[in-house]
Each structure stands twice: as C-alpha cells, then as structure tokens.
Symmetry: C2
Subunit: 437 residues, 2 copies
C-alpha cells in the first residue's frame, strides 16, 4: 500500500471534522481501499477466464418496452412522494433528491403541485388566447406555435412553499425528498412570450399579464410585464419531450427563477392589463402574513438555497472513512457563485467543487471530499449567488421573518420562501438526522 | 400591420430559398401573423371575463402517479421504435428525435441495442471485479462504489451502426427516428475508471482494459488504456436517476464520444491486460470490410454529424411562411464549432444559431430562421467540430468508403460510422422526403 498512492484518510483536512481540499477530486493516485471490499478470491490471471455467473446472466433478459421506466427494485424508490387528493383539492408530488445525482431531474419524478389533477387536453382542439390591452387579439393552435422561434434552457423550478417543513419549531425528521422535494430542474424548450406580445401589439401602458390555466380551478396569476419581456417562455418541451401531463401538457408558462405557482400550467390565456388580478393564489396563498400584521405579497424570485443530498436524514453511513458529500444549490437571482460546506456544525467552512457547467437559474451540483472519522459530526452547506446573496442561517431567517409557529404535519406549508441552511447530524453509529444548530 | 413591426417573410434572405440571418432569432418586433391564426372572436376586454370552458376544464383531472409518463395521445408517439427479439438476439429501440427538442433525451426513450434483453440484477448481490495486470485485484459492491468521488456530464451516446439506413443505394423513406434514432444524449453520473485502476495498481506495461457485461451474451470489448485514463467513467446515473434497466442498471462503462457498443452495460468486470480480447463485437461486428479486402478495426470515436429534425421526412409543412429549422449536431472529437444550413440543396449555405451551452461530446441544438416560399426546396445541415472535422457529403463518403451495397431493410446495418450530410426535400405540397443530392 506504500509508494506513490495516498490514502485520503491521511490527507490534512482544510476544515474541521475531516473536510478535504476540493482539488483532491482532480488528483490521481488516491487509495480508497478503506471504503472498498478487497477480495483475494477475485481472479488474477491475464487471460479472460470466466467469472462465476450470477443467475441474471444465465437467461434472456427483459424485452425493451415502448417507454422505459426504472428497474425493480429502484422503481419503488425512484418515485414521487405523493400527497394525493384524487384530483380534487391540492395534490403534491415531491422529487426524491436523496436518491438522485447531477442537475437534471428525470421527467418521471419532476415535482407537482396541482389543484385539480391534470386535465385531459386534446392538443388538436387546444387554443391559447392573447388579448386585453393589445392592438390585435390573437388565438393560436398548438400547430401554429410550433412554427415560432424556439429556444431551450436548463432551469430549476421550485414551489414557493418548498422547504416549509424546515420552519417547524423542532426539527422534523424526513428525507430530503420530504423536506426539500418541491424542487426540480429540467431543460425547458419553448417560445418567448415577448414574441407573441410583439405580434399582438401590447399597449405601452400595460404593466401586467394575467396568465390563466385550463385546469379545473382556472388557476390565475399576475406576472409583471418586465419579467414577461425579460425571459418568460411558453414551454412545450421538458428534457426534450412534450411536457408531462402533470407539468402542464401541452404548454405552460415558464418564468426562470420565479416561484413555481406563477409558472401557470395548461396555459390557455395571456391577458395584457395595467393591474394585477388579485387571484386567490396571490391574495391568500403565496402571501406571507408577518407578525406586524402586514403581509408580503408579490415577492417572486426564489431565494438562494442549497442542501446536502448525500449524506442526508434517514440514511446510515456504514463505516468511517472516505465519502463524497454531494448536494445541490440554486438561486432565482442567477448563477451560483460558491458553496461552502461545514462538517463541524458551522464552526469552520471550506469551499466545495461545483460541477461544470454552472448555469444561471439552474441547479448546481456541488461535491466535497470528506474523511469521516467516525465521531459525531454536523454537515451543512451555504450557497452564495452571483448577485451576492448568501443563504441565511436559521437564526438570521427568524430575525427577519419572526419566530416560527409549530408544524404538526410534514406536508404543511407554515411559511413560504424558506431558505435557511439545512444541518444534518451524523451520529457515532452513522445515523443521519435533521438538527437545528 | 405597419409601424415598427417587421414580417420575417419581408426580410432579405442570407442564402438561397429563404434562409434568414440567425441573428433574427435575437431580435424583437417580428410579426409572425402569417403563421398564426388570428381570431376576431377572441376576447378584447380589459377585465378577466371567462373564456368558454373546454370539457377538460370542467372536471377534476388525473391524479399524480408515482412515476410520470407521457400524456395520451403523445404516449403513442413519444416511444421507442423497437425491433424486438423477445430478449433473444439483437433488439433495438430508437429515439424519436423528430418529436423532440433541446439536447437532453428523456430516459423513457433513450436508445437501446441489447443482445439478450435487460438482465434482472439484484443490486445488493451485484459485484464489479477489477483484475488482471494489477498489484491488487479488487471487488466492489454497489454500496462501496457510492462512496467514491463522483462527477456528472452531459454527453451523447451513439451506436456505431446509427444512420446506417442512409447508406442504401436509393434513399429510404423514414422518420429521423428510423434513420438516425440510435443516438441519445443524457447527463451521465459516475466515477472515473482511472480512480479504480489507481487503487488496484495497474501495471505500467498494460495497454488495454477488457470490459465485460453481465448480460446473457457476456458482452466483451477491449478499451485502450489511454481512453480509460483520459475520461472513461463507470456510470450509475442517467439524467439524475439510476440507469434504466435497458441502459445498464446498475452500472455501465461510459466512454465519451466512443461508439455505443464499447460502453459496456451491466458492467461486471474490468480486466487490465496488454492485448485486445478480439471479441465478436470487435472482430466480426463493428469491423468494416472494405472493397480492398482489408478491414477497418478499432476506429472508436463517432465522427462529426448533424441532422435536421424539423422539418424532416414523413412530415408535411402546412403552408408557406416562417418556420424555424431545428436540428442536432454532435462529434466524438469534442465541441461543435459551427453548423451550416442550406435550403437549396447545397448551392448556398448560412450559419445556424447554436443553443448555449455548447458542451463537448454532447448533442448541440442548432436553429435557423427560414421563410419557405412554397416552392420545392432541399434542406441540409453540415456540422464542423472544434478539431476541424467537417461532415462529408455523400459523394465524399463514397469516395472514401466505396460504393454502397443496397439495403433491403431500414433496420439493417450495411455499414458502420455513416456520417454523410442528410438531405430533406420539401415538395410544393409541403411533403418532406429523403433525397440524395
């Protein structure tokens, strides 16, 4: 084991409790044998003598289906965590980030919040109407829109109520899927809303666009004209294929960086106007009542946030030694500038490696080499975006927003836009739990 | 219709038959009304009066499933084109690129070539063995490997036999899925093979690594050590989730830019050695017999290629006017440098816009604004990669490889590594067909 190879457990940490320099991830000649099972029974010959066959190698395998879905036994795990209301009332489905890696969320488990299920839309009969303060109202079929200039970008989408369980008075125990699963990231393809408004001839005095969905609750949201003309898109494609039914098929509004609810699904109308519509989702829901009796309204961009997905609560670390801490960071204000990681509950921090390409308003995967000594530790991540916003501690968020009320239910939404630092404790037995530090 | 708005049909073309400057895609104030249905019956009021409700807006919609799949009626179209052999013999499944946009291929329709279906592997019992010319043979469980340094990259994967139907003596009529569907692009996540070879202590005299799969045919391929140490990965994740069963669950070799067959699925062994294994897939298949009686062997990178996906064969363009020509380009030698498009059968060319980010060894989406006059036209795309390789014409490829034999069957593989320019003719009636120019 001697010679040019180095064991990461022998490297000098760059911060407390065994965090290693992120540049180690680029080095070669590392020995991870502490983590790997070494078998003297493995074959050693230079000829390709047969390995013993497992049963699955002895029979023809499963034929190719028209549309692939995960393997058993992954199928039971790579799944939405659904709070179902059978199509009536609000249903939610959360993305299993604790089981994923990279930045793309596969379409099978993109998060969903739906108030009346997914309408069964006939794409041939579907129409989008653009009207209101315009020179010429327009009506478009899906085939009409397919001829317009299209573009595609990898962007995150997050419910304004994501991470709400983190606002409980005491730390709720759940997976990252339960705690932060109303968040996903896809390549979204579509046409600029500004292209359609140019064509309709929007009145220069107009300052809002009311977007309306074709779902059973006729979802409406008011979008500032500045956002519409900046980067708003009517999306038809999600990771290359037409939108999933629960993500708005055949088309949805997409507002990069803005809270999910505004990205109106099953979009059927854009009304140009000079005032917001004050729909239920902007007057009652997605409005934050403060202790002062005043309320926050129309606060659209999702704040800078990050979370460590591995290790994370409900997991158990099998033994001390080398691990890669892996997580995701994002901000509605642009690119992630850096992510700092702590393994000692915030006493010391070190810079994580960011997986390239780092894209604006997209998930960014961060990675941090770590030698876990086997002693209790608390791992945390803190993201900073290119606008200089720093993810706040829980104490800083409380100072800003008031003391939390309690949360009786991990599926509740006690507060919108919660972006505090998440802290995961590792016990001497390797068990990972959610803690407040 | 007057004033500051311009109609793209009135712009001066930059090349024959109506190709427009790609910078038009960045401009505003365009009028596409020629392509859009304008309805005088659309609402004009400034108040949000109700639209007439379609039937799908009047009932609760579909509840959220554990794992989302495409909507009816898309489900029948967004599907593999499968040549099935019920798990025995070679089955293929092709990606429906003519229906997709962007660069990511959704996992449901990633292409597959499998010789014995997908083995039903128990991840808890699964082992990867590294042996041969090493200091210490190693055996890894999936849990062992999950602790290693991981990385993720968006990369294309293409069968060496992709585009083989283009080599027929007469142009075969089929969709882009039929003609070029053994190609996909995903975010692949995993660990560097070099990390495991460092740990095992590969002999400096070793020049090859034999990769072996756990499928029923025990697929073997010989990989040059230079590629292994450069950027070879053992992939566990595909667009964020564990690999699909037909794409190698729980792990596969991934060799960025190299022909698909070498990216051994259901990877169970890496044997370090000083000679290739000369397996059937490198001595008989994936070897090109030339007219001279000699054969091409071990020619690994996929050559620079592009194809227009919209419009494309079997489609019909509904009427003259504005369209966006959309397509994909890729090269096993690195980034796409540029894509030129012709609408007059190669007489004149103009530069297409490339969708950012342009990533190495990944699909690149190109887009070209076009005013179709309604006259017959032939659209073509020609990609150039950063190494300076230019996609050849059919005549250039014939000069290099010899006259093609005929192809009785669109699913056949008359030749490997076909990368000639594809030409799609648009008739005066709007019908799109495959032609040789």
């Amino acid at each position: 084991m001697a010679g040019r190879w180095k064991n990461p457990t022998e490297l000098t940490p760059v911060a407390g409790n065994g965090l290693l320099d992120r540049r180690m991830l680029l080095s070669s000649g590392m020995m991870f044998a502490g983590a790997a099972a070494v078998s003297a029974a493995a074959p050693t010959g230079a000829a390709a003598e047969p390995l013993a066959n497992d049963p699955w190698s002895l029979t023809p395998g499963a034929p190719i289906p028209p549309y692939s879905t995960p393997a058993h036994p992954e199928a039971a795990k790579i799944a939405h965590l659904v709070v179902q209301n059978n199509g009536i009332g609000t249903s939610q489905a959360r993305t299993p980030h604790h089981l994923l890696d990279g930045i793309i969320t596969p379409n099978g488990v993109h998060y969903v919040v739906a108030r009346a299920g997914a309408p069964d839309i006939d794409p041939d009969k579907y129409r989008l109407v653009v009207h209101g303060m315009v020179r010429q109202p327009l009506e478009f079929s899906l085939n009409d829109l397919m001829r317009y200039p299209m573009e595609s970008h990898v962007r995150f989408l997050e419910c304004g109520g994501n991470s709400a369980p983190m606002w409980s008075k005491t730390p709720l125990q759940g997976t990252v899927q339960q705690l932060h699963g109303l968040l996903s990231c896809s390549e979204w393809g579509g046409i600029r809303v500004s292209t359609l408004l140019d064509e309709a001839g929007a009145d220069p005095g107009a300052s809002w666009v009311i977007a309306e969905g074709a779902d059973g609750v006729t979802m409406q949201r008011s979008i500032p004209m500045t956002k519409i003309m900046d980067d708003a898109v009517i999306a038809f494609y999600q990771n290359g294929e037409p939108l999933m039914p629960w993500n708005g098929y055949p088309m949805r509004l997409f507002l990069p960086g803005y809270e999910g609810n505004m990205n109106v699904k099953w979009l059927r109308r854009l009304m140009v106007t000079d005032q917001p519509v004050m729909a239920i989702n902007e007057s009652r829901q997605y409005t934050e009542l403060l202790d002062s009796g005043k309320a926050w309204r129309f606060y659209y961009p999702q704040e800078v946030k990050s979370v460590i997905t591995r290790p994370s609560p409900m997991m158990t670390m099998p033994s001390p030694g080398y691990y890669q801490i892996s997580g995701i960071a994002w901000s509605g204000h642009g690119r992630i500038e850096k992510v700092d990681v702590s393994a000692d509950g915030g006493k010391s921090w070190a810079r994580a490696a960011l997986q390239a390409p780092v894209l604006p308003k997209a998930l960014t995967r961060f990675r941090m080499p770590w030698n876990w000594t086997g002693q209790p530790a608390v791992v945390m991540s803190r993201a900073t975006d290119e606008a200089g916003n720093v993810q706040p501690t829980r104490q800083q968020l409380i100072a800003q927003r008031g003391e939390p009320r309690n949360t009786p239910n991990i599926n509740g939404f006690p507060m919108e836009h919660v972006n505090q630092i998440s802290s995961w404790a590792i016990g001497a037995n390797g068990a990972v739990t959610h803690v407040y530090v």
